[in-house]
Subunit: 430 residues, 2 copies
């Protein structure tokens, strides 16, 4: 073996413990909320036959697939999102009990140009309800999303909702063709919060070649009060249905107790072309510039690409990395070097078993505890606790052993107290 330079693949990254501990803690809470609403985990392979993924993400997406020939000369590609594999699973399992409520938290891979905060491997976290056309399913996705954010300690957020049918009807009114022309206009509208009206107007004129009248009409639509939607779409069945659905979801969100978190925003467009009804994005009010931390919508036609008959579906997706960043900004999540609450110090080989015994007792009480392997000088053990950010060191000498106590050192304040083991447990579990 020749010596190889150890390095991480371009566009990829290691998650070191300090970042991984809070992320894992967050994802466990998220999964817990999903399960509390009856969503069950599904796991699909990292690799799929390429033809199962190709053509689902547009030409641009196809180019970003990690696609190769495997050892058996099969044309394969790495997972690009969690939605198409879900569609495949539903297409392959016709006898699934419906509604099929699943969540999946897993990495996806996209060969995008890496940039600040943009990586070629990132975690997706999706929750979907398959097989129900009822708008209550749309509202439940809002409710579970809101419950997730509340569980993570975020109170001040807004879920902006819209309905793709409104956008479709609006675009049709200005003679913008379905398919790529329409999607391109929606992607321009989607940029509104980031680049502002002026620049979106320029995009619509120069890239989409819209007339000044069409551009004005689009912005007239975008500024409509919800109450005027019916009038604006009078006689337009698609538009009228979109307005009705939007109102129904709002009403049901109210019933589910999340009405105060939801507001209509006609400029929410979502770049993906598979949405057919409700669409939503979620912003933390403390930092809207972070972008949407939770997005999704109804996509009643996606499954037809595999399955023949269309299967209704609605879901939301958490932007895991963005959310971790936002929670850290808000002080709701902290990077953490070590899960250990107590380092149990060892004075000598003879007293070692005492220390290990105390560590065991702490663990049995649900407290994370470790002992430095071997018996280096106490200074080194304390140094380790310091570098690892371990808050407490428990010392057990002969005296403490005889009285069943430990000398507890608070590594932040430096304060030392003699406490019983039960006292220590009480202190750390309260």
């Amino acid at each position: 073996m020749s010596k190889i330079v150890a390095r991480v693949l371009k566009g990829f990254r290691d998650y070191m413990p300090a970042n991984m501990l809070p992320k894992e803690r967050m994802l466990r809470q998220v999964a817990g909320v999903f399960e509390s609403f009856g969503f069950a985990p599904l796991q699909t392979p990292a690799l799929e036959y390429a033809d199962c993924l190709l053509g689902k993400y547009g030409d641009e997406g196809d180019k970003l697939l990690y696609r190769f020939r495997d050892n058996g000369d099969r044309d394969v590609a790495m997972r690009y999102d969690l939605t198409v594999p879900l569609a495949r699973v539903v297409a392959m399992n016709g006898n699934l009990t419906r509604p099929f409520k699943r969540y999946q938290i897993a990495p996806v891979w996209r060969a995008e140009k890496p940039g600040r905060g943009r990586f070629r491997e990132f975690m997706q976290c999706d929750v979907d309800i398959i097989g129900s056309t009822d708008m209550m399913a749309d509202a439940e996705c809002l409710a579970v999303g809101a419950a997730v954010l509340e569980r993570l300690g975020v109170d001040d957020f807004v879920i902006r909702i819209n309905n793709r049918k409104l956008l479709t009807a609006m675009l049709a009114r200005f003679d913008i063709s379905e398919g790529e022309p329409a999607m391109s206009v929606l992607r321009a509208i989607d940029k509104l919060p980031k680049i502002g009206e002026e620049k979106v107007r320029v995009l619509l004129r120069d890239e989409n070649h819209l007339s000044p009248g069409a551009i004005d009409g689009i912005f007239e639509f975008l500024s409509l009060p919800a109450a005027d939607l019916d009038a604006w779409f009078e006689g337009d069945e698609t538009g009228r249905l979109g307005a009705e659905e939007l109102n129904t979801v709002l009403k049901l969100a109210d019933e589910l107790g999340v009405g105060d978190k939801v507001e209509i925003d006609l400029s929410i467009a979502r770049g993906l072309d598979y949405y057919t009804g409700t669409i939503y994005e979620t912003f933390l009010k403390a930092d809207e510039s972070l972008g949407s931390v939770m997005s999704g919508g109804r996509y009643d036609d996606l499954l037809s690409m595999f399955g023949g008959a269309g299967v209704p579906a609605v879901g939301i997706s958490l932007g895991v990395d963005r959310l971790v960043y936002g929670l850290m900004e808000l002080g709701l999540l902290e990077s953490q070097q070590s899960p250990t609450q107590v380092l149990v110090g060892v004075f000598s080989d003879e007293e070692r078993t005492l220390s290990y015994g105390v560590a065991s007792k702490l663990r049995a009480a649900g407290i994370t505890a470790e002992v430095y392997p071997g018996t280096p000088r106490m200074k080194k053990q304390l140094q380790y606790a310091n570098r690892q950010g371990i808050a407490h060191v428990a010392l057990i000498g002969k005296t403490e052993a005889e009285t069943g106590q430990v000398l507890l050192k608070n590594m932040e304040t430096g304060q030392q107290d003699t406490v019983t083991i039960d006292g220590l447990i009480e202190l750390l579990t309260r």
Copy 2:
């Protein structure tokens, strides 16, 4: 988009909720035990530069890599195990606090011939201590492994330990060259529990071309009582050191309270060539034919392939799929279709908010609860509960709403009781 046949890539599989729920539950418990001992999670990318993986798993391993050229013409490969990426991380991060105690639970990919229970994507679950030569680290890996099994409800298991130095010294005595010849003999010995002495003797004769004397000598060694090791290796420094290490680990395991779970087995060889000291495998006594559910050892030279100076390391790895299978056999883990404990039924749209309110209250109390979206006939809702294996259905009609009660139907027994919501919570959380 033309219609594509939905199918799973050969050698891969979907984990449907019924299998994924218990697996996730198990892995959460495992991670909890790891963290209780102070191990922190690390995450490395699915893709690595191929040269970082090549040559680490032997010629056979190199052939099994999913290796390809990415869009930037980089020679890349998918993760084959969790140990080499760990070595890469340690080599790249010279300032890591030591001991560096990390765990990683993640899929790996190997293009092996798929077979019964053998897949090309499978989960690995590793815990390692990097940077300590102290044998207490070896013993702590035994202790954390034992704690994992105990946490999962398994009491009756045995961790068989050996020391690679003993095997190295023994092979040298019979003039078996280091490297591939030695490894090939060790792999033959490793098959002993599966194929028996007779067939291993044939392998050693026909494939390793050992003399009858060497073969007899190997089996003499394998049947040595631990007390005779020192005498057998008299004057052989490597062998003597191996015996001493083995005894030390046993003594320390005793100190850590897991001595009764550990026994010496000189035939434990581990097929991988990077082990340098302690090696171990773990068997469930109820089904030893399942094979080892938890294996590992000390590998003090692995990191040198990246880092220059060798860094000591010791770890264990859980065989996740095997363990799930074993736990299911033992009745300690059950497949489960849905996480939901209570389906809250809805009689009519008017009473819907009552049902959603009850579901919210249950969730706030830590009980998983769901409501069928829309308001289909009650028969359909009960059918859903049945098919999903949901144990309880709570019905709230006008009467119940007025009295703050629910009609609780036990779906297994069919029994119905009128209970208060607090009573229901008490019933399901006790």
